[in-house]
Each structure stands twice: as C-alpha cells, then as structure tokens.
Subunit: 589 residues, 2 copies
C-alpha cells in the first residue's frame, strides 16, 4: 500500500488548480471569541425573563428570549429593496392578528376556528431517549429515560408545554417552548453581532431554502453557488426561473477571488441583473465535503460585503466538524502501546481501537474536555461573522437529531424573519406539533443545553470514526493514480475525482495503436460508464454531474460517497467494490 | 322569545337575494351510489397486493394500493397546457431517482446521505389513544390503548413501520404505510370515477393549497372563489400575483349560474386571461358555513366542465356534515317523555338530553347504525362527481384528528400528483415522521377503517351538539330583526348578517330628527364598531370583511362565530355578550 504522506490537498479539476496551503486542523485554528452568553447563563437569564407564553397558538418571538447583551449591538441593515415582489406583497393575516385580543382577561373567543383539545385522540405521548452522556443505543437500553407529555400538563402544572397546545394550531415562528431553546442555542453557539437577529422554526432546511429563495429571486435572476453544489438547491432554483452561476472552489470550498471576479466582471447587459444572492454550504459542503477555514470565511464575507450580496448559509453539518484525518500508519499502533497523544488544542486523545474488524482505520478521537472547549474549537459560522444581517442561516435537526423530525430553524434579521413568518402562515404554518413537543421534551426538559452539546460531541465523534473508515478504505483499495480525493474534515461526504482522461476509451489510439474513429467520449460519458459499472459490481455512488451548478459543463469526473448511512463493514466493502469497478473500467486487471 | 318557525333560509346581503328552496336534511337527500370498494373489502384486497414497501425512503404510490376496479375506468384528461411555467419546469431529482437502484439485491449504497438510525435519539415512541368506539376523554382514561413503535420493529417482525424508517428521510408521497391507508380511505369514501387518481400526503392543506395554486397560476391570473372565502386562501393568492374574483353565493354556497355568468361575460381584453381555476370549500364553507347540496354540486361541476375549469376542492369539514338544526321547541321535550323520533333516513334517533346546563339546546342526535349508513348519508364530494380529473381535492387531519399533526393529503390525477411530488421534494419533503408513524399506529394498526369512520361519526355528533348550542343561544339572545343567520349543517362556523342599515349612525336623520352632517358611515365602519364593542363586552368574533374576496367591496356586515373552540357554557355566554354588544350599538336598551 502506498504511503499516505502525499495526501492530495485539493480537488483538482475544480476551477482553481493552483496549489493551496491547507491550514492546520480546523479545531486548532479557530480564533473566534465565543459568546458572552454561555450555557451557565441560560438559567439565570430565564429567571429574569417574563413567563414563557403557554397558551394555544400564543405569540412568541426570539426577542423574548435573547440576552440583554444584544440590545447594545448595532441593528441590522434594512433589505427592503432586495425583497422579491412576492415577498414584499405579503400582508399580515387578519385572523392571526386578531389573536392579540386573546390577551384580554376573561375574553371568550368565538373567533379562530381552533378545534377543542378534547377531540384530539391523544391522551399522552411518550418517548424513550438516551440520558446524557450515555448516548449509544446500548446505553439507552440500560439507562434511557421515558419522557411523557399529557394532554393538559400545563393546566395541571406538570410542564410548560402539553398536547392541548402542541396538537392545536400554532404560530408560524414555532411554539414558544422550542423557539426559546433554539434562540438560546443560537446565541450560545453563534452570538450574532447585530442586535435584531431572530429565529423562526422551519419544517426543515429544504423547505426553508425554497422560502428564502422566493424571498429574493425574481424569474431570470441569478443565484451564486459553489461550482458543485447540493443538487436539491439547483432543483429548487430552476423552477423559480432563477439561473445558477457556479463559482470556482478548491479543497476549502468557495474561492473568494473567484467570487469577486465573477461579480466584478458581471456584464449586466448581456446576462441580466447582477447576482444579489449567494447560496453556500460552508461546512462539509455537499457534495465536495469541503470546509471553509476561518480565513476563507472572512474572505468570503468580505467579498459579499463589497458586492452587497445576501447570503444563504445552509449549514446542517456545522457540528460535524472533525479533526484532520490521520492515516493508521502515521498514527502508529495506538492502544497496543497504550500511548496517548496530545492534540493541538491541548486536550488529550487516546488512539483507542474500537474492536471489530477494522482496528487499523481509527484516528485519534478528539475528546474535548467540555462543551465550552468543543464550541471554542469549531470554525465559526458565517452568521457569527456578519455585522450587517446579510446572512440567512439555515439550521436543521435532520443531521443531528433525525430527518423525520422535519424541523429546523432559520436565523436572520427581524425584518427578514417577519417576511418568512408571513410566508409560513400561508404555507407550512409550523413544524408538526408532535415533533415540536418531542424535541422540547428531549432538548429542553431532559438534556438542556449542556446535554444537547454533549450529544453533538458524541455524534461528531461517531461521524469522525466513519470518516476514518472510508478514507482508510479508500487508501487501501482505490487506485491512487486514478482516484484523487479531498481531505474530509466535516459532514458526511467523500468526494473523489477520477482521472478520466486515462480511461482506455479516452485514449487517442486504440489498443492496437491504431487511430480511434469518431470523437472521443466526454467526461460525462465516462462518468456514466463508471457509475453503472459500480452498480453492476454492487455499489451505488452519486455522480458528480448531478451536483454541477452549470449543467453539462463537466470537464471532470467526480463521485460522491457518503459515510453516513452504511455500516462500517459495508463502507469498507462498498469502497472495495468501487475500486474493483474502477479497475475493470480502466482495464487495470 | 320569538318562535323559531321562520328560520331564515339564506344569508341575505349576498349577491343572490332571490329566495332559494332548501333541500331536505342533507343526510336524507344524498343519491350518491357509494363505492364498490367498502371497508370489508380492504383486508382481502391487501392480501392480494404485493408486500408493502418497508425500506427507508422506499418508493410508494397509490397505484400500489387501489382496488382492481379502478383499472376499468377511463383515464383522467391531460392538463399539460394548464401547468404554470414553474410547475412545468420541475425536473426529477437525480438523487431521488437513484433510489431505484436500491432495489438491486445486495447492493451497498454509498449514494444518498441518509443518517444511520442508531444516531436518532429515540428508542421508542408511545401514544395513549381511545379504543373504538369508546372515544371520549373519560372513556380513553379507562379503556384507552397504548401504541408503541420501536426503532427496529420492522427488522424484528413486530410491525411494518418503525422509527428507523419514520425518523429518516422519506419519499414526498409520504410513507407507504400511511399512504396505503389514505388511499384506501379515499377509495372507500369518494370512489373517484377515473382510473389514474392518486393520493399524496401533504404537510396540511394550507401548504397543499399554496402548492396547488403555484401549479396553475401565473402572476396576473385570476382565481375564482366564493364571494366570501377562507381568508388564508386570499392571503396565499395575493403574493403570487393572482387576482381573486369572488362569485355570488346563497345559503347553499357557490351559485352555479353566477359562476357561469362571470365566465361567459369575461372580457379577456380588459381583465386578462379568463380564469382557469376555481377554489371552493363545498362543505361547511369557511366563513359562511354554507354546504352545497348534491344538486348544487352537480350544477357547479357542470359549469366547471363547460368552462373547462380546474377545481381546488378544500374540504376539511366533509365529515362534519350534520342533520338540519331543529329548535328545542320544535323538538318537544324528548327524554322527559322517553319518546324517540324516526329521522328521514330511517334510523332511529333519541332526543336525549345530555345533562348539564343546556338541556333545551339539544337536537335529535343522528346515530347512523353503521359506518356504511354514515357514509351513504354524506353529500358526496366534488372529487366523486368528477369524471375527468379536474378536481384537486384537499383533505386534512387538522379538523378530524388534530391540527398539530400537520398532515393531510391531496387526491388528483397521476399527472398532477407527479408535479405535486416534484414540488414537495424541494420544499416540504413529507410530513413529520413522528406524525406519520403515530397516525399509522392509530388509524391502521389500532382503529382500522371501521374504527376511523366510527371516530368520524363521534366527532360529527360532538360538533352537531355544539352547533345546536350556538344556534339555540342565538335564537334565545340575538335581536332577530337585526341578526340573520344561515342554517348551519356542516363544519365549525356560524355566519351572522347584521342589518347595519338600522344602525343609529346610518340613519339619515339624527336622534332629534335633524339632518345629519357629513357622509353616512359605510358598512365597514359599522362592522368595525360592532367588532370592537363586542370585544369591549368580552367576546371576540371574526369580521366578515376579512373573508371578502374583493377587498373593500363590502356592502353588508357579517360576523363569523365558531362553535369549535370554546366550551358549551362559554359559547352560550359568548353569544349573550355579543347580543348585549349589538343591543348597545343599535341603542336597543
């Protein structure tokens, strides 16, 4: 097996092919000064706040839950001129507006058509969940807790949230109970720099992304994205009549100088209105796995500032930031010698083998000593670097709790949240009440912020191990002269470039040295062959072209592999099958 | 108290003020021949079907679950030319398309980024629910059942659905498990007349309505609605750039001859493209409470046929169809004499008093002897009268299970469902997995179709009683020469016209007989006064103008009261407070 010293540091074949300097491990380079509002501040702050609204469809806003420190910050800019006609045209709902009168003591409402909770066929709901920090399935079996919600827990003084509220209609911001937790979490983790930021629950980032796009894009408008981007974002933008302009990337994702070049050279007469919106996945980008370093993020924000872009920060993998991959060989034998090695941020990590079939694939497991150390080590979000409120940040529970919750949240200036809420009122309304009440029970009543962050540390460690498995399998099995990959330091995706020009069909001469007849195949055709040969060999990958911002402009072949879904054994087997397929395609055997 | 013999049979002040003939009680006039596919057919049919798909994000379609009888029917028309640019532009998702390869035995997927279920922090979910037919809260406390779902129930053979599936990503149609139930239910209840109808789960009808509008409307297009309509529908259409054309109604809702007149007289040059879409709430219309009779529905569909309209049938109150209201006086003393009276459809109903404070407000309780009798007595939906697939029917669990489920379904031709699914994939994705699995456990595993229909009978009886309470309170308290109301035979709403021209301020002469200075107040101003006087008197109602399709064109004053939310005592008290407010406004005391 080839020594792993010459790890490829960029995804060649992307626009910028000049060498880049990789920063040290992400967890060691962050210089972000974290929130003055920390986990220990939550409880004292709650005690100073007015009581949590707990009526049916009670109005709530992040303003009720933010720390007083926010008041001293400057306000976000106004974006009135940026709103699409559709978004600007949204009016307040008369019916929802009338809910304000419900605050009058003793008033009887014959107004809103809210069904009576006695007709909800649910007396109680219980979930069995892990107790922090014993998070594994096995541990949950032994030490898990059962969290129950009754129909009238609030009336009975048992909780601040119950089924009579959760199962009825609610406000588009989401229930006050969960909105409070999400607002506090956002302040703890991202500490926005301007005063009037707010959160609003969403029915997942897929839905929130579409709503955010509709907020700014008119038919014919351009939206900027990474050159390879989340295919669903492309499929969302297309039907809105938006055109997608892909911006060059390297191993650290979006290239600020490319972004600047595209915008500075923009020929509005030829192409139409200069883009006003950037869609970016800064952490563990889908599909390339690239993660913007802090320096990169600052440079990106500077260009956005210069060209006055609004930014959709789609960041479901934020908490899945990992240590840099270290190959088993570089690491030595770890547990066998009983050694521990200090990581660069000063916490101790044991090279522990996890038993099972792949002892050689384990990297030093980063075990931050506290949630504070964990948070301090994360490369900060674009939201937290944004003084003017130009970032709409999308968070999602899908990758860190479960996709089936169909719950996430958006953070942005109050002005934009208000528009978002107006849209939610006539579309998604709010996430499922069952999802909200179960998330509230788990996150707020059981785990609290400390427990939730510990859970995120657990999830991150699990995905790190899976990442180690796939990279080690790739190192072991894939033909290195044909397959080049990015270092993966966040998320769920492993992105491989295949040097398709070495494919036998791409050669100008046939196998007998005779000149080929007809045009040589394109990158897309070779990609298709490899994709199908892999399937025939028993492994399904995603084709790079599915993620190409400018459809049909592919000059390189990529495959996206995920290490999120399959078991570790299957990941190793799957990579092996892919390697066989590549060898067969390239006639290596 | 005035004798109730002269019940007003129409909401005067609506466009058509000519007298209308009311049909007999809805439950007696239905001539709809119901489905050949009945509740007893479900189990044998399931046994002939291929096994239910039960993988993560497994593809499913109503086609898998419909009875063979559908195959013999003619296909729906094609609507290609009717699709908006946005809808027509939707492409299949590459990633979702790749899921087809997952059917290959033994294939390992490194394709889709589906998180591994071991990282969902939910070992099991349980709900405590009523067991049919003991549906009340009290009964549930004694005889309720606890339904539990584990993480790996499918693998363990305990169920066909579990948390490892429900909490992961899913198909936009909704999970096969719940889609099957909803498809069967739709066939049992509506028996669509064309072959290629399908269902797709939605995240509630608010969301589905917006998506359906986007499927057909371009900015500037007109949409037809009832003259007074669900305010949220107006607030949805507006920002899309659609213009709303309200069509005259009477006590039975939409007037076919008015619909025909509007369309026949349409001046496309002056107004723009002739409307191609009708939005209607045929049962217990919001806000007027009007219910289209079968004859009315047939006439409406005939006009839609003639002018080739597509129809959005928003029908959340379908199962809340009631007997005609009979005043306590007309009914006699019922239980006191121990008499029973036969209803017109031949089943026996007892005039039973329910104890408590309002024995005089109870109407004969329609107690169908079977779910078959219940279904046969319901006025059929527009969907079931539609031979060509021009109706998109929206069903919702909000009014019959709980709004917090954020789950409903749409039924339409396969062509339109396919477009709807494409849109869902890049927006709502699918309802919450928690909602889906809890609904599945309740509806499919616990109640079955029979139990669900019994539940609907229960809910309907409960709302009938509440309707009786509000109408009796109105008869008792409201000044009859000023307040005119529709008979309410479905839904949740009680619609009152106030004869505002008798308001002292509307008089041309002042209290002393002197001529008034300045212009007389408008209907809207009087409405506002009454609204605020009612609030000052401790009762919140909804203003009719909020529901006016053509904003600002109000020439009458209406109030909408709901009998869904408040307790029966509060309803009576609330109507009394409203009566006092009206008296005060009109200086009656």
């Amino acid at each position: 097996m080839a020594p792993p010293a010459a790890l490829p540091v960029e995804a060649r074949g992307l626009t910028d092919t000049s060498p880049i300097t990789l920063p040290g491990p992400i967890l060691a380079t962050s210089s972000h000064t974290h929130a003055v509002f920390g986990v220990p501040d939550v409880q004292p702050h709650r005690e100073c706040c007015p009581p949590l609204p707990r009526g049916v469809a009670a109005f709530a806003s992040s303003e009720m839950f933010k720390s007083p420190a926010n008041k001293a910050k400057p306000k976000a800019r106004r974006w009135d001129a940026r709103l699409s006609r559709e978004s600007a045209a949204r009016k307040k709902s008369s019916l929802k507006g009338a809910a304000a009168y419900l605050k009058i003591p003793g008033i009887i409402s014959l107004g809103g058509g809210l069904p009576s909770p006695e007709y909800f066929p649910f007396e109680s709901v219980s979930v069995r969940v892990p107790v922090a920090p014993a998070f594994t399935e096995d541990e949950t079996g032994h030490t898990g807790a059962t969290l129950s919600t009754g129909r009238y827990d609030v009336r009975q003084g048992a909780s601040v949230y119950d089924l009579s509220i959760a199962m009825n209609y609610g406000q588009a911001t989401g229930a006050a109970q969960l909105l409070r937790f999400v607002t506090e979490h956002t302040e703890i983790v991202h500490a926005p720099r301007y005063a009037d930021w707010e959160c609003c629950l969403t029915t997942g980032s897929t839905s929130a992304l579409e709503m955010a796009m509709r907020m700014f894009l008119e038919p014919g408008d351009w939206i900027l994205t990474e050159e390879y981007t989340f295919s669903s974002a492309l499929e969302t933008a297309g039907p809105l009549g938006a055109r997608v302009c892909g911006v060059g990337m390297d191993g650290e994702g979006l290239l600020p100088k490319e972004l600047d070049r595209v915008l500075s050279d923009w020929d509005a007469e030829k192409r139409g209105r200069k883009p006003v919106l950037l869609y970016t996945v800064p952490t563990g980008q889908n599909p390339t796995g690239a993660t913007q370093s802090l320096a990169r993020r600052k440079a990106v924000m500077e260009v956005c500032e210069r060209h006055d872009l609004l930014v959709i920060e789609d960041d479901p993998y934020f908490f899945l930031q990992m240590e840099e991959y270290v190959s088993p060989e570089e690491r030595g034998l770890g547990e066998v010698n009983g050694t521990t090695s200090a990581t660069t941020n000063g916490t101790a990590a044991t090279n522990g083998h996890r038993g099972g079939q792949h002892p050689a694939t384990l990297s030093p497991k980063f075990k931050p000593t506290s949630v504070h150390a964990f948070l301090s080590a994360l490369t900060p979000s674009l939201l937290s670097l944004d003084p003017h409120g130009r970032v709409l940040r999308l968070d999602s529970f899908s990758k860190i709790i479960a996709p089936g919750s169909r719950t996430g949240w958006i953070t942005a200036p109050a002005q934009l949240i208000e528009r978002f809420v107006r849209h939610s009122e006539v579309s998604t309304q709010n996430p499922s009440g069952l999802s909200q009440v179960v998330l509230f029970k788990l996150l707020d009543e059981e785990w609290g912020h400390e427990g939730f962050l510990q859970w995120l540390m657990f999830i991150r460690a699990e995905y790190s191990r899976r990442r180690d498995v796939i990279v080690a399998a790739a190192e072991r099995h894939l033909p290195r002269h044909l397959c080049i990959w990015n270092p993966v330091r966040a998320g769920m995706f492993f992105w491989i470039r295949i040097d398709w020009r070495r494919h036998p069909l791409a050669a100008t001469l046939g196998p007998g040295g005779e000149p080929r007849c007809g045009p040589p195949p394109s990158a897309l055709e070779i990609e298709e062959r490899i994709f199908h040969t892999a399937i025939a060999n028993g492994v399904l990958c995603s084709r790079g072209s599915w993620f190409r911002a400018q459809k049909g402009s592919d000059s390189e072949v990529f495959l996206r592999l995920t290490f999120a879904a399959a078991s570790e054994e299957q990941i190793v087997e799957g990579v092996g099958r892919l390697a066989d397929a590549v060898r067969r395609e390239f006639e290596l055997d």
